[in-house]
Symmetry: C2
Subunit: 258 residues, 2 copies
């Protein structure tokens, strides 16, 4: 029986792609992914059928991957980062669920064997590049209100603030959305100091990586685009400077024992 | 100049160790890690000096790693999962910070070059094994009150509940602590249905892996130990069954568009 692999390829650096991800791609004849992801992966993708679909056509992409596997092709649906975190994996299971409930007409999907290969997400890449930003309890919030009502997002922002979680924002801005990250900043400022360290990571672990460390009250949508990962420290996160090296870390609480 | 690598080796499966982690270990003469982690890594550790310290001596381990690197040894401080998430990385920066503030007497540490290598954390391994549990906004909470006051943890539990985040619990139980996970369950039950799916993952991605899917009101400290990762779905997380295969996924909200 053919198989559908949901494959995570990590933040971008080829050396952060796991052997398991490469092996999954290797056994497949068909790859469903943005062209850019495949370029980063290099020769492992050679000789395979590439299926690309325009940005925004996530549902079509998941359906295509299920159809290919149902038709006997070992197929990899590929995402950068972790395919389970704000990426394609959950959509495949939504489609499967719909079929199980009899709400779609694709019984062939139920015969597809599925394996999910996890990967390193952008928040982890950003944290590693600046030190240990995720050193204590943290949360992630997507600022895209395309699929989630803004009221839900706003409630989560308040809860993240009140709980003093380190917060990583995914989808902080798009071509059509620019105000959400500023509102998120203002809500968090109700709960934590203006000096709270913020990390902006763009093209993380890639050749054109850029990383900026600033304070929460300096965060502005002008410095953020759809490829930026934004992590905001909790009230104890420290920005320290050792010579020409900046580090940001969130303590776990060893201080009283040091 | 010698270098200190803070190296993540992922959940356990050798095929989930990144080439970057292996290369970092490869260039080091000295490894600071639990013996068990090194066994999982195999031959890359051969011929290197292993430094092991008893469980609980985290501060000593971080100091030793800094000292070795300051004394000219390329050193890897190794942790399973992601070393930046509830692991050793942040402690190294706490020690560095203490020295920068003149509160310790180890100026040699300031000359150490540090590189952090991220990895796949237990919550991601668990999510991948059951489908797409982390498909929408999530948070992590450590239930250890050794370093964090219980009041802080309890507040975060309420915020995680009120914000309807998927919640992953690290350190859910230890030999001396058993009640926290039950209290956490009761708090979350104030905010989400008794039928909310919960995943218990133990020895994730290893030969003796066990994964259990249950409902929130069935969660009990009796089924959890210090090696268990506990992930609790949000109010929309689904547990579906396709033949003999169980899946758990948290929808992103495509349903209205399917």
């Amino acid at each position: 029986m053919s198989k559908l692999y949901l494959v995570s390829t990590g933040p971008g650096d080829k050396d952060l792609v796991t052997p398991k991800a490469l092996e999954a791609i290797n056994v497949c004849s068909d790859l469903v992914a943005y062209g850019l992801y495949l370029e980063l992966l290099g020769s492992v993708c050679d000789g395979k059928v590439h299926h690309d679909l325009p940005l925004g056509e996530e549902i079509g992409r998941a359906q295509l991957a299920l159809d290919l596997a149902a038709n006997g092709k070992n197929t990899a649906l590929i995402s950068s980062g972790d395919i389970g975190i704000y990426a394609m994996a959950t959509l495949v299971f939504e489609l499967l669920d719909q079929q199980l409930k009899g709400e779609s007409n694709n019984p062939q999907w139920l015969n597809v064997e599925i394996e999910v290969v996890p990967g390193i997400s952008a928040m982890q890449a950003a944290a590693s590049r600046v030190g240990a930003m995720l050193g204590h309890d943290f949360c992630t919030i997507s600022l895209s209100d395309l699929l989630t009502p803004w009221e839900t997002i706003e409630k989560r922002l308040h809860c993240a603030g009140a709980g003093d979680f380190v917060v990583s924002f995914y989808n902080p801005r798009s071509k059509k959305r620019d105000w959400q990250i500023n509102t998120a900043r203002d809500i968090l400022l109700e709960y934590r100091p203006a000096t709270t360290p913020v990390v902006l990571g763009r093209q993380l672990t890639r050749d054109d990586e850029s990383i900026t460390i600033l304070q929460l009250d300096q965060l502005s949508s002008d410095d953020v685009d759809m490829f930026t990962l934004v992590s905001v420290g909790n009230s104890e996160t420290q920005h320290i400077v050792n010579g020409d090296q900046d580090w940001v870390y969130t303590p776990r609480g060893y201080k009283n024992k040091l």
